[in-house]
C-alpha cells in the first residue's frame, strides 16, 4: 500500500492555479523527488501535503488516514515532517532546543507535571535529550549542540533543519531544496545523509531539488511538475528521456515560466 496518496489535488491562488489536479503516490521506504522549473508548483504541493495550505479540491491520504485540510501540527503528528526552502529554524534557540521542539509530539506533558516537576517530567526530559543527542551525532552537530541556531554556518543550519524534522520520528520526510546553496562536496555529504535517513531509520524521503546531480544521484522515483501539472514520472532514466521534460526545461516552457 502506498504511504501517501494524493488524488486530484488542486490549489488556486486567485486566478492562478498553482497545482492542477495532481495525482501522486509515494511507496514506503523509497527516495522520491519532485522537480520542475521555477513556479511549477512544487513548494505549493509540499505546503498542501503539510497542511500549510488547504487544497481546493482533491484528497490526500497518508498511512491510511485522510489528512486533507488538517492543521500542520496534526499532519506532523500523523507522521510527516518537513524542512523549508528558506531555512526556518528557531533562531534564538540552541541546536538542542530546536530538536527538542521537533520532538514535541513525542512528549506527553501536562501543566501540573511541568509546574510541580514530577519525577516523570525529569525522566521524560532526560530521555528526550538523549534521543536528540543521538540525532545530533547522526547529522554531525554534537559539538555545536549548545550553540544558538542563527549563529550556525549555512550548511549546519540545513543539517539542523533535517535533525529537527527527524526528531518527530516521522514516517515521511519532506525536504524542500535541501542542498540549495551548497558546494558540490557539501551536496554529496547531504546525499549520503538522505540515504542514511532512509536506510537507518526506514523513513521515506521526498525532496524538491534543482540540483540534477543530487536528484539523479539518489532518487528512485521522480515526478516532474510544470505549470502545476504533472507532466512525467518514473525512474531517473525514464524521466531524463521524456520529451515533455526536456521541453519543459529547455524548450518554450522554461522561458515563460519565470515568476
Amino acid at each position: 500500500m502506498a504511504l501517501l496518496e494524493a488524488k486530484g489535488v488542486l490549489k488556486r491562488f486567485g486566478g492562478l492555479t498553482a497545482v492542477q489536479k495532481v495525482d501522486y503516490l509515494i511507496e514506503p521506504r523509497t527516495i522520491n523527488a519532485i522537480i520542475g522549473p521555477n513556479g511549477a508548483g512544487k513548494t505549493t504541493f509540499f505546503n498542501l501535503m503539510t497542511g500549510i495550505y488547504v487544497p481546493d479540491e482533491g484528497t490526500i491520504t497518508f498511512d491510511g488516514k485522510n489528512i486533507t485540510g488538517l492543521k500542520p501540527n496534526k499532519i506532523n503528528n500523523a507522521g510527516i515532517a518537513r524542512t523549508f526552502q528558506n531555512i526556518r529554524l528557531f533562531g534564538a534557540m540552541t541546536v538542542i532546543e530546536n530538536c527538542l521542539v521537533g520532538m514535541h509530539r513525542r512528549l506527553h506533558i501536562s501543566l501540573p507535571q511541568t509546574i510541580l516537576r514530577l519525577p516523570s517530567f525529569a525522566v521524560q526530559e532526560r530521555t528526550a535529550q538523549q534521543r536528540v543527542e543521538a540525532l545530533l551525532d547522526f547529522v554531525g552537530l554534537r559539538d555545536k549542540a549548545n550553540e544558538v541556531a542563527k549563529n550556525l554556518p549555512y550548511g549546519d543550519q540545513r543539517r539542523l533543519e533535517i535533525a529537527r524534522a527527524l526528531a518527530s520520528e516521522p514516517k515521511l520526510l519532506l525536504l524542500d531544496e535541501p542542498t540549495a546553496g551548497m558546494n558540490p562536496q557539501e551536496s554529496v555529504a547531504a546525499m549520503q545523509l538522505f540515504r542514511a535517513v532512509r536506510d537507518e531509520f526506514g523513513i521515506t524521503v521526498l525532496l524538491i531539488e534543482h540540483d540534477m546531480r543530487v536528484v539523479m544521484g539518489i532518487s528512485e522515483y521522480i515526478t516532474v511538475l510544470d505549470y502545476g501539472q504533472k507532466i512525467a514520472e518514473g525512474s531517473p532514466e525514464e524521466v531524463r528521456r521524456n520529451p515533455r521534460v526536456i521541453e519543459a526545461y529547455l524548450g518554450r516552457g522554461s522561458a515563460a515560466s519565470h515568476v
Partner: protein
C-alpha cells in the same frame, strides 16, 4: 552549574581559596554597609531624601548581586531569604514607607513576570494586561464591599476568611478571561494583536465603570461595581491574634514606637504574602520556560509556521500563554483589592498596562530575573526617586540654599520643573536610552545550556555514521557508477 566556591575547594590544594571567596565577601560587605547606612540616616536630615533614594535602591538590588555570585544555589536562596524576610521587614517596621515601596515593587514584579510569559516567552504583544489585574481586584471587591447592591440584595457578602479561596478563584477567573481574550486574537500578530489587546484592556475598564446601574427598573437598580466611584470598604483576611502580638513584641524588642500595631501587622502580612506570590510566580515561570511548553512558546515566537509544522499545537499553546500570564495578575488583583481596601476603575487605566510593559522591556524580555529587576528600577523611579528629588528641592528652598559657582538661588527653581511631575518624561527617556544601549534589557534572557551525556569524542561512533565528514568523501564515491547528469 554553579560550584560552591566556599566549600568545594576545601581539599588540600596549594591554590588559596580566599581568592574565590572574595566576591562573596565583597557582596556580603556591600549588603551590610548599605543596610547599616540605611538604618543610620536620620529622617530629619536635610539631605535625607537624597540619601534615601540612593541607599534604598542599592539595598533592594542586593539580592541580584547575590544571584550573580558563583556560590551554591541553596546558599544564595538562604542569603536572599535573610534579606527579604529579616533585614527588609526590620527596616520596614522602622519606616513603613519602605515597606510600602517594597510591597509595590513585588506586586509589579509578579505582574511583570506574568506579562513576560505572554510577551517575552510567547511573543504575543499584550497592551491590555492590566485587565486581568482588574478581574482579580473586582472579584474580591464586588463580594466584600458594601457599596454595591449585589451584596445588599442577595446577602452574599463573602466572609473575610474566604480571602484565600478568592485568591485561588482570582487565578481561575483571570485565566478564563485570558482565554476569552486569546480566542478572538489567535490569528493576529504583531501590531494588530497589540491594538486588539489594548482595546480589550479598555473594554474591561469601561465595563467596570459602567456596571453600576444596569437595570431598567429604577426602583431596584443593579449596581455591581459602583461605577467610577469605586468600591470602598473591601476587607482583608482576618489575622490571628498571635501574629499581631508577635509584631507588638517585635517592635517593643526593637525599640520602635508603634501606634497602630494591627495596621502594621497587616502591612507586614501583605508584604510577606506579595513576596510569596512573587516567588511562586517566578518559580512557575522559570519551570514553564524550561519545559516542552516553554520551548513551544519560544518556537511560536521565533517562527509560527515552522513551529506548527514541527507539531506544536499553536492554538492551545497561545491560549495557555494568555491564561498563564493572566493568572498571576488575577492573584495580585485580589491581594491589591484587599490591601488597598478600595478599588476603582482609575487603578486599571491604560497607563498601568504600559507601566508593566515598560518593566518587562527595561528588565529584559523573556528573562525572569530581568523583569524582577525591571520592576525594582521602574517602580522605585516612579514612587521614590523622583518624588524624593522634589522633596529635596523643596527642603532646599526652605533653607534658601544657593547653588554655588553658578550662584543660582534654588528658591527660583520653577514649580513646573518639579521632578515628580516628569515621571512620564523620564520613563520615555529611560525607554529610549534602553533601546539604544541595551535593547534586550538590563538582564537579557539567556538560552539554557544543556550538559551533554558523553564528552566529545568519548562515545564510539561507527565510521559509517559520520555523515558530516565532508573532506573524506569524494564526489566520485557516490557518482562513480551513476549515469551522467542531465544538464
Amino acid at each position: 552549574m554553579a560550584t560552591n566556591a566556599l566549600f568545594q575547594n576545601g581539599a588540600p590544594q596549594s591554590q588559596p581559596n580566599w581568592r574565590e571567596a572574595l566576591p562573596t565577601l565583597f557582596a556580603l560587605g556591600y549588603v551590610a554597609i548599605v543596610y547599616f547606612l540605611l538604618h543610620s540616616i536620620d529622617r530629619s536630615m536635610l539631605l535625607f531624601p537624597l540619601w534615601s533614594s540612593i541607599l534604598f535602591p542599592m539595598f533592594v538590588i542586593s539580592p541580584f548581586i547575590i544571584l550573580g555570585l558563583k556560590i551554591d544555589g541553596r546558599l544564595k536562596v538562604l542569603l536572599i531569604a535573610i534579606i527579604g524576610l529579616v533585614l527588609m521587614p526590620i527596616l520596614g517596621l522602622e519606616d513603613t514607607f519602605y515597606l510600602e515601596l517594597i510591597t509595590q515593587i513585588a506586586i509589579f514584579a509578579a505582574m511583570a513576570i506574568g506579562l513576560n510569559v505572554v510577551v517575552g516567552f510567547a511573543g504575543l504583544l499584550d497592551l491590555g494586561y492590566v485587565a486581568f489585574f482588574a478581574v482579580g481586584a473586582y472579584l474580591w471587591g464586588v463580594f466584600t464591599s458594601n457599596a454595591n447592591t449585589i451584596v445588599q440584595i442577595s446577602g452574599a457578602q463573602a466572609a473575610p476568611e474566604l480571602f484565600w479561596l478568592f485568591l485561588f478563584l482570582g487565578v481561575i477567573a483571570a485565566a478564563i478571561t485570558g482565554i476569552l481574550l486569546g480566542l478572538p486574537v489567535l490569528r493576529l500578530r504583531g501590531d494588530y494583536l497589540a491594538i486588539v489587546t489594548l482595546g480589550f484592556g479598555e473594554i474591561i475598564r469601561i465595563l467596570v465603570s459602567n456596571l453600576s446601574n444596569i437595570s431598567s427598573n429604577r426602583r431596584t437598580p443593579i449596581n455591581i461595581t459602583n461605577g467610577a466611584q469605586g468600591l470602598p470598604g473591601i476587607v482583608g483576611p482576618p489575622l490571628p491574634d498571635f501574629l499581631v502580638e508577635g509584631v507588638a513584641n517585635l517592635t517593643a524588642a526593637l525599640g520602635i514606637p508603634a501606634t497602630n500595631v494591627r495596621a502594621l501587622t497587616y502591612q507586614l502580612f501583605y508584604y510577606v504574602l506579595v513576596l510569596g506570590v512573587c516567588a511562586i510566580a517566578a518559580l512557575v515561570a522559570a519551570r514553564l520556560d524550561n519545559s516542552p511548553i516553554g520551548r513551544a512558546w519560544t518556537a511560536i515566537r521565533e517562527d509560527e509556521v515552522a513551529a506548527q509544522a514541527m507539531g506544536i499545537p499553536k492554538v492551545r499553546m497561545k491560549l495557555l500563554a494568555f491564561a498563564m500570564g493572566a493568572s498571576f495578575a488575577g492573584a495580585m488583583g485580589v491581594i491589591f483589592a484587599a490591601k488597598n481596601t478600595f478599588v476603582s476603575p482609575e487603578s486599571f487605566s491604560f497607563i498601568q498596562s504600559i507601566f508593566i510593559l515598560a518593566i518587562v522591556i527595561v528588565g529584559g524580555m523573556g528573562s525572569i530575573r530581568g523583569v524582577i529587576l525591571g520592576a525594582v528600577i521602574v517602580t522605585l523611579l516612579n514612587l521614590q526617586v523622583l518624588k524624593n528629588f522634589s522633596l529635596l528641592i523643596n527642603s532646599l528652598k526652605n533653607i534658601d540654599w544657593v547653588i554655588p559657582i553658578i550662584n543660582f538661588p534654588i528658591r527660583d527653581w520653577p514649580q513646573q520643573l518639579e521632578p515628580a511631575r516628569y515621571e512620564r518624561f523620564v520613563f520615555g527617556l529611560l525607554l529610549i536610552i534602553m533601546m539604544i544601549f541595551r535593547p534586550s534589557g538590563v538582564l537579557p534572557a539567556k538560552r539554557r545550556q544543556l550538559e551533554l551525556q558523553a564528552a566529545m569524542g568519548k562515545e564510539e561512533i561507527p565510521e559509517a555514521e559520520i555523515i558530516a565528514d565532508v573532506e573524506t568523501i569524494k564526489p566520485e564515491d557516490l557518482l562513480g557508477n551513476q549515469p551522467k547528469e542531465q544538464s
